[in-house]
Amino acid sequence: MNLLLTISFSSVASGIHNWLVSTIPNELLAKSVEMVIAGICLLLFLVPLCFILGYMERKVAGFMQMRYGPNRVGPYGSLQIVADTVKLVMKEGLTPTGSDKFLFNLAPVIMVVTCMLVLAPIAFAKDFQIWDINIGVLYVSAISSLAVIGILMAGWSSYNKYSLLGAMRSGAQIVSYELSVGLSLISIVILTGSLKMSDIVMSQETGWWIIRGHIPVIISFVIFVIASTAEINRAPFDLAEAEQELTAGFHTEYAGMKFAMFLLAEYINLFIVSAIAATLFLGGWMPFHIGHWQEFNHIMDFVPSSLWFLGKTFFIIFIIMQFRWTFPRLRVDQLLTLEWKYLLPISMVNTILVTVMAIMGWHF
């Protein structure tokens, strides 16, 4: 048991790295082989993750609506999403005649690539991070706002009025909610004094920020969850694809694998947003520690760090899913009212509160 615990992801990774370097004489070749292995590992992680999220979404929806959800394909319907993927692969990826073909096909690629890039600084477990960039938080908020380009591109190039309206809506929406997300991220940066993800996680060794930071951090957590739900275009903020108004919004014309890419990007984005919320507010992979209770903390350490991380992430994912299956959709002007008249002023005031708290040392 102890042996298992001591094997961390970084030691495995460095082991592989050393082995590759020693066996393959050419350094560049070794590096490329390593990258291929890493890429395959990443895909092996991401694709099942999307399957799990898709399955989870359907089951959550089902249970909330007094249904079973998928229960035919595989045990408890767990292979339903695989069947759907196979179906999507077999579908013709239609490109409408009037559309701007280059942009139309580029949009799903951009969607996937942007959300892949955001994965880099996320700390999945102890010592397991793709790139521990020293401006992690800034990097996340910078790259994640690129997604709006993909949506605008998809909506514009489709040559469809629903798509156009959906894209225009999401332009205003994502851009606006960026601010609240940024401000609530900043409140944690103030407390930790670092933009580095690993530093942020380490700073929560004696307790998660949401517990240590009193009400101000709770407020910024709530604002973060709401605003990031809007950022990733999920109900009740799914105006860009409002089914009842615009049939499917910006991806009306997409079919087959191209549509699957949007779906994939949505789920990866959902995961990323929850992962960041978990990292910043709920301590990431850090086990639940209380101050100086050494025994208690030690027991908590026995649970693997990746489980802690995934547990917290999935908890937030569940909350965001519950939003979707409970609330009606906002109207486009109410969406902006919510951001500009409620979330933004509140988070601005909240930032100052957090600053005062950090300087005075009023947090635990």
């Binding site: 890429g39 013709e92 799903p108 942007t114 790139w131 469809n160 049939t247 601005m348 930032t351 300087i359």
Partner: protein, 116 residues
């Protein structure tokens, strides 16, 4: 892994999405027809072009956003250092935020936050 991770992620993202689309092209049967290529509008042929300029009113929001987002970027370095600076940092950011907040109030009062 360092900054090479970015290249890795970029390549994986492109390979995965382009590969997926190409694989489905391999598997999927395709046929072309005039009706199939029409833009979907509930089964009715569209009237006029879909690429027209129209006022959605998000133009103003984009402008306000631009101002606020630049301010937000300024706040990141401050946020990292504020614990070390102490009281001075707090006073500075209060003034900064106050100006920002006045800007927001002004926009609110002027009706720029109303969707047209």
């Amino acid at each position: 892994m360092g900054s090479s991770a970015l290249i890795l992620l970029l390549i994986v993202g492109i390979a995965f999405s382009v590969g997926g689309i190409l694989i489905s092209k391999w598997f999927a049967k395709s046929s072309a027809s005039k009706v199939k290529g029409e833009p979907y509008e509930c089964g009715i042929p569209t009237t006029g072009t879909s690429w027209i300029q129209f006022n959605v009113g998000y133009y103003l929001f984009a402008l306000i956003f631009l101002i606020f987002d630049v301010e937000l970027v300024f706040m990141y370095p401050w946020a990292v250092a504020v614990k070390k600076i102490g009281m001075v940092g707090l006073v500075e950011i209060v003034i900064f935020m106050f100006i920002l907040f006045m800007g927001l109030l002004y926009a609110w009062k002027k009706g720029a936050l109303k969707w047209m």
